[in-house]
C-alpha cells in the first residue's frame, strides 16, 4: 500500500542511542479547551535532523501539539523543551522555530520577495544580505522568476513553495509543517514529498510535520507518532508502525488489515497459537509477544501477506490456511484486491500483484480459493 520509502536506509537512529539528547522534549503535555481535552499527557522526544510525523485524524490533537511547539498555544500542564530550554512563557517571536502554515498564511499585500524577506527584516539583517538570502531561497524552491509577483498571482503549488522558502530563510533548527501538502493535487503532492525530503537532508533541519495522510507520513518521515483522541497510540519508524502495530487502532489506521478475533491456545517461546472462529483455522504467529493461554486476542494480517491459490494446498498442519469464495475483485493495474468470503461469514481482503496480464488471470468471481500465509505475517494484538 504505502509509497515506497524514498528515504535512503541510513544508520541514523538517534532514538536508539541512549547517549543522544533529544532536540525537542515534550514532557507530559496536556492541553484542554474548556472541557475538551485536545492533548492528553503526551511525552515525546525528537532528535536533531529527524523528519518526524504527527499522524492522526481530525481532532486527534496533532495540530494543537504543533501549535504548542510554535508558541501559539500554551500547555495547560507539562513542559516543552527545545534545545534544552524550557519554552514556558516564551512567545512565538522569540522561539528558535519556524512554521509553515496549512493555509500558507502568505502576506497578500507583499510580493513573493517581501514575503520571504519578512523574517530577516524583523531581525535587522543588512539589506544586501537579505537580498542574497532571499534570492538563494527562491532559487532553491525554483521561484526565482516570480519574486515580484503577489501571492494571488501564483498557483497553489507555487504558493506552497513560497511558504516553505519563507519559513526556511531564517535557517531555523526546527521547522514545523502543518499539513504542508494538503492543498496540492496528487501528482504535485508526490513530487513535493521528494523535494521536502531533499531539502530537509540538504539543510540539516529538524522537521516536525503534521499530517492526516498516512501515505505522506510513511514516505517522508524517519519516525511517525500516531495520535488518537489526544493520546499517542504508537511511535516508531514507518516499518515498525506498518509491520508491528501495537494496537488495533494503529493497525487499522495505517493501510488496510484483516482482523481475526480468537483465543490463545498455547505459547511456545515467541510462537503463539491462536484458535479463531473468524478465520476457521488455527493461527500460528512467530515473533509474537507472549500472551497467557485462553486470553482473547486479535490477529492482524496485512492483505498483501496472504497468498491466493485455486489449487487446494494439502501440506502442513492446517494452520494459517483457510478456504473461501471470491466475491469481489478490484483491478488497480499493478495489483488487484480480492474480497474472499470465508464459510464463517468473515470477508478477507487479499491483494496480489498482477504478475500476468489480466486476460490470463486465473482467479475470477465465485472461484473457491485457498488462502495461506506464513507465520511471520500475523501480528498478535491484545488491545
Amino acid at each position: 500500500m504505502a509509497g515506497q520509502p524514498i528515504r535512503k536506509p541510513t544508520r541514523l537512529e538517534p532514538w536508539q542511542d541512549a547517549g543522544q539528547t533529544p532536540y525537542v522534549r515534550i514532557e507530559k503535555v496536556t492541553k484542554t479547551f474548556g472541557d475538551f481535552v485536545a492533548v492528553d499527557e503526551v511525552s515525546l522526544s525528537i532528535y536533531r535532523n529527524e523528519f518526524f510525523a504527527l499522524l492522526g485524524g481530525s481532532g486527534s490533537g496533532k495540530t494543537t501539539l504543533l501549535r504548542m511547539l510554535a508558541g501559539f498555544e500554551q500547555p495547560t500542564e507539562g513542559k516543552i523543551f527545545i534545545d534544552g530550554v524550557d519554552m514556558a512563557g516564551i512567545p512565538p517571536y522569540e522561539r528558535p522555530v519556524n512554521m509553515m502554515f496549512q493555509s500558507y498564511a502568505l502576506f497578500p499585500h507583499m510580493t513573493v520577495e517581501q514575503n520571504v524577506a519578512f523574517g530577516l527584516k524583523q531581525d535587522g539583517v543588512a539589506k544586501a544580505e537579505i537580498r542574497d538570502r532571499v534570492a538563494e531561497m527562491l532559487g532553491m524552491v525554483q521561484l526565482s522568476a516570480f519574486g515580484k509577483r503577489r501571492p494571488h498571482q501564483l498557483s497553489g503549488g507555487q504558493r506552497q513553495r513560497v511558504a516553505l522558502a519563507r519559513s526556511l530563510v531564517k535557517r531555523p533548527k526546527l521547522l514545523l509543517l502543518d499539513e504542508p501538502l494538503g492543498a496540492l493535487d496528487k501528482k504535485l503532492r508526490e513530487r513535493t514529498q521528494f523535494e521536502l525530503v531533499n531539502i530537509q537532508e540538504k539543510l540539516g533541519v529538524t522537521f516536525i510535520v503534521v499530517t492526516h495522510d498516512q501515505e505522506e507520513a510513511m514516505t517522508m518521515s524517519s519516525r511517525i507518532a500516531v495520535m488518537n483522541h489526544g493520546v499517542i497510540a504508537q511511535v516508531g519508524t514507518p516499518t515498525e508502525i506498518y509491520e508491528y502495530p501495537h494496537t488495533r487502532f494503529v493497525a487499522e489506521f495505517i493501510g488496510s488489515i484483516n482482523m481475526f478475533d480468537g483465543r490463545v491456545v498455547s505459547t511456545e517461546g515467541d510462537q503463539v497459537i491462536v484458535a479463531s472462529e473468524d478465520a476457521g483455522c488455527e493461527l500460528l504467529i512467530a515473533h509474537a509477544t507472549p500472551a497467557p493461554a485462553g486470553s482473547p486476542v486479535s490477529v492482524a494480517i496485512r492483505p498483501e501477506k496472504i497468498a491466493l491459490s485455486k489449487d487446494p494446498v494439502a501440506d502442513g498442519d492446517g494452520r494459517n490456511r483457510t478456504t473461501g469464495i471470491v466475491r469481489e475483485i478490484a483491478y488497480l493495474g499493478d495489483v488487484s484486491i480480492y474480497l474472499v468470503q470465508l464459510p464463517t461469514g468473515k470477508t478477507v481482503r487479499v491483494t496480489a500483484p498482477n504478475v500476468t496480464r489480466r486476460t490470463e488471470m486465473p482467479i475470477t468471481w465465485e472461484d473457491e480459493v485457498t488462502l495461506t500465509w506464513r507465520p511471520f505475517a500475523g501480528v498478535v494484538l491484545t488491545q
Binding site: 510554535a70 508558541g71 501559539f72 512567545p91 512565538p92 517571536y93 522569540e94 522555530v97 519556524n98 512554521m99 502554515f101 493555509s103 498564511a105 502568505l106 502576506f107 497578500p108 499585500h109 519578512f118 523574517g119 524583523q122 531581525d123 503577489r150 494571488h152 498571482q153 519563507r166 519559513s167 531564517k170
Partner: protein, 314 residues
C-alpha cells in the same frame, strides 16, 4: 394577448434586454429621477439671475417674438456672475476652507476613536461581536436631532461636563463648551463615528488571524505585526470609512448650526442662509455646485488611482 407578451419577451431576450436589463434599469431610473434631474435643475438655477418673483430666479430660456418685425428668436441667457461672486467674496472661500478643516479634523478624530473600537470588536469573542456592533448602530434608532439636542445639555455651561469638572475641583465655575468649534468637533465625531467603525470592522474581521501568527513566527513583535500586517491590510476600510465621514461632514449643517458658535463658519450654513435668509437661489445653487466639485473631483481622482493600484496588485 398571451402570444403578444411571449413574442415581446422572446424578442427582448434576443437582444439581451429582458430580465437582467430590467434589474439594472430600475435602480438607474431611480437615480436618474431623484439624483440626476434635481442636480440638473440646481445646475440650471446656478446660471440664472435672482429676481423678486415666484420662483425667485429668472428663466434661462426665453422665446422672444418681435411682432413688428414678425420674427421670433430663442434666447438662452447664462449668468456666470454667481460663480465669480464665490471667488470674489472671502466669506465663501473661508467657509469652504473652514468646512474642509472641520471635516478633516472630524475624520481624523473618528479614525482615532473608531479604529481601536473596530479592532477590539473584531478581536472579541465571535459570540460577542454581534451585540457589540449592535451597540455601535443603536444610536441610529433615535432621531439625529434629539441626539444633538442631548449634546447641548451635556456641553452647555452648568451642563453635565461642566458640573463634573467643577465637582472634581478641576475648574471653579461653569465651563462653556457649547457654541464653539470644540462643540462642533465633539458633536460631529459622535454622529459620524458609526460610519467609520462599520467599514473598518468589516475589513478587520475578514483578516486571516494566521497572518499575524505567521508574522509572530517570523520574529515580529505584536506592535510591529500591527504596523506591518494589520494596518496595511485594513487600508481599504480606512479609506472607505474616511470617505463616508468626510463627504457628509463637509456639507454638514445641523450640528454646526445647533452646537457651533456664531463664528463657526461652514459652507452648509452659508448655503442655508443664501437659500432661506437672502432668498438668492442662483448664488445658493452656485455654492452647492461648487461644493460638489470641490468634493467630487478629488474623490473621483482618488478612486481612479486606487482602482488602478488594485488592478496592478491583482
Amino acid at each position: 394577448m398571451r402570444t403578444v407578451v411571449s413574442v415581446l419577451v422572446s424578442g427582448l431576450s434576443r437582444i439581451g434586454l429582458w430580465g437582467r436589463g430590467v434589474v439594472v434599469a430600475v435602480p438607474y431610473l431611480w437615480l436618474m429621477l431623484f439624483f440626476l434631474v434635481p442636480f440638473l435643475i440646481v445646475f440650471g438655477i446656478s446660471f440664472s439671475e435672482s429676481i423678486i418673483a415666484q420662483p425667485p430666479y429668472s428663466s434661462l430660456v426665453e422665446w422672444l417674438t418681435d411682432e413688428d418685425a414678425g420674427t421670433s428668436k430663442l434666447q438662452i441667457l447664462l449668468n456666470i456672475s454667481n460663480y465669480f461672486r464665490l471667488g470674489g467674496d472671502d466669506l465663501y472661500i473661508l467657509a469652504y476652507l473652514n468646512s474642509l478643516k472641520i471635516a478633516a479634523v472630524t475624520t481624523l478624530l473618528c479614525l482615532a476613536i473608531g479604529y481601536p473600537m473596530a479592532y477590539a470588536i473584531a478581536k472579541a469573542d465571535p459570540a460577542r461581536r454581534g451585540p457589540l456592533m449592535m451597540l455601535v448602530i443603536l444610536p441610529f434608532w433615535t432621531s439625529f436631532l434629539i441626539r444633538i439636542y442631548a449634546w447641548i445639555g451635556i456641553l452647555k455651561g452648568n451642563g453635565v461636563i461642566s458640573n463634573l469638572l467643577e465637582w472634581a475641583g478641576i475648574t471653579s465655575g461653569p465651563v462653556e463648551i457649547l457654541y464653539s468649534d470644540w462643540a462642533v468637533y465633539i458633536g460631529m465625531t459622535y454622529c459620524y463615528l458609526p460610519f467609520m467603525v462599520l467599514p473598518l470592522y468589516s475589513t478587520l474581521e475578514k483578516m486571516d488571524p494566521s497572518l499575524l501568527e505567521a508574522a509572530a513566527d517570523l520574529g515580529s513583535r505584536p506592535f510591529r505585526s500591527f504596523l506591518q500586517i494589520t494596518l496595511p491590510l485594513s487600508l481599504p476600510g480606512i479609506v472607505a470609512g474616511s470617505l463616508l465621514v468626510f463627504i457628509p461632514a463637509v456639507g454638514e449643517f445641523v450640528t454646526p448650526e445647533l452646537l457651533g458658535g456664531p463664528d463657526t463658519l461652514m459652507i452648509g450654513r452659508v448655503l442655508w442662509n443664501e437659500f432661506f435668509a437672502n432668498r438668492d437661489w442662483p448664488v445658493a445653487s452656485a455654492v452647492a455646485i461648487a461644493l460638489l466639485l470641490v468634493l467630487v473631483v478629488p474623490i473621483m481622482i482618488f478612486q481612479h488611482v486606487q482602482g488602478k493600484q488594485a488592478e496592478a496588485g491583482r
